[in-house]
Symmetry: C2
Subunit: 134 residues, 2 copies
Amino acid sequence: MMELTRKGEYAVRGIVYLATRPLDQVCLLSEIASAVDVPQTFLAKIFQQFSKIGLVRSYRGTGGGFVLGRLPENISLLEVVEAVEGPITPNRCVIGEGQCDRVAGCNVHPVWINVQQQTREILANVSLLQLAGK
Amino acid sequence: MMELTRKGEYAVRGIVYLATRPLDQVCLLSEIASAVDVPQTFLAKIFQQFSKIGLVRSYRGTGGGFVLGRLPENISLLEVVEAVEGPITPNRCVIGEGQCDRVAGCNVHPVWINVQQQTREILANVSLLQLAGK
DNA sequence: CCTAAAAAGACATAAATAGTCTTTTAGTTA
DNA sequence: TAACTAAAAGACTATTTATGTCTTTTTAGG
């Protein structure tokens, strides 16, 4: 339970690596993939997701590659994780009413809300800058 | 991510229901299953796991069924969840060294440890008594 | 010995995970 | 402009996990 998938793990590794590189320098996917030991084709999918929401910026063709979309101090671990894993929802019924038919008298519900909030807060307070150790 | 499986959901619902019942009274699995709307055969597996670690006590044959293994105030949500979902490990490498070859210079690691501890603490501080609303 | 009820284990199906492969699009350079 | 480079996009596959079901066995009571 509560386990990050490989996809999430790869995502973090990949973008943290990118954050360790010079920010003005376009970085090849192949370089990232081999540096963090992730299948390149798989990492490609992950970076496409990053790109769509602006976490990274991509350039095609010769001299192409990836750079961070924002300064590493302005990208949180929460954003990275949720970008590929979806929202952090410890229990289905946290998503919203209607999913959980027992919301009314459900004493478990607020506990999961609590877990969700604590977790999000922890992840939101960690930036790529910190993770990159710079 | 961080989502409880159906098994975990059913487990909580089932044992919370049991906690709402008179403690000295043996409760049929069929009653629990229909009360919390879970397939009986599936719930059977879950309660077998509970039984093995003493969360519930089972009686076979006529007049058989289940009772809580301890007082509801002494059973935490954490125990219930971990009984069926396994230990709460947000990231594989939290499990132990050797799993994560990047432990040495890994700045992500302590963050997951933090998430794990916070989550466990929250769940550990909720008892079946509270959840049963008694 | 017949019935009740949980235990145990084999089996089945569906969904999610973890990829791969191929083709297309965009940009660079000779 | 042709050739090359690199990401984007989408189809496809394999493996694992989740979510059960079914059958047989064990234990207990009447």
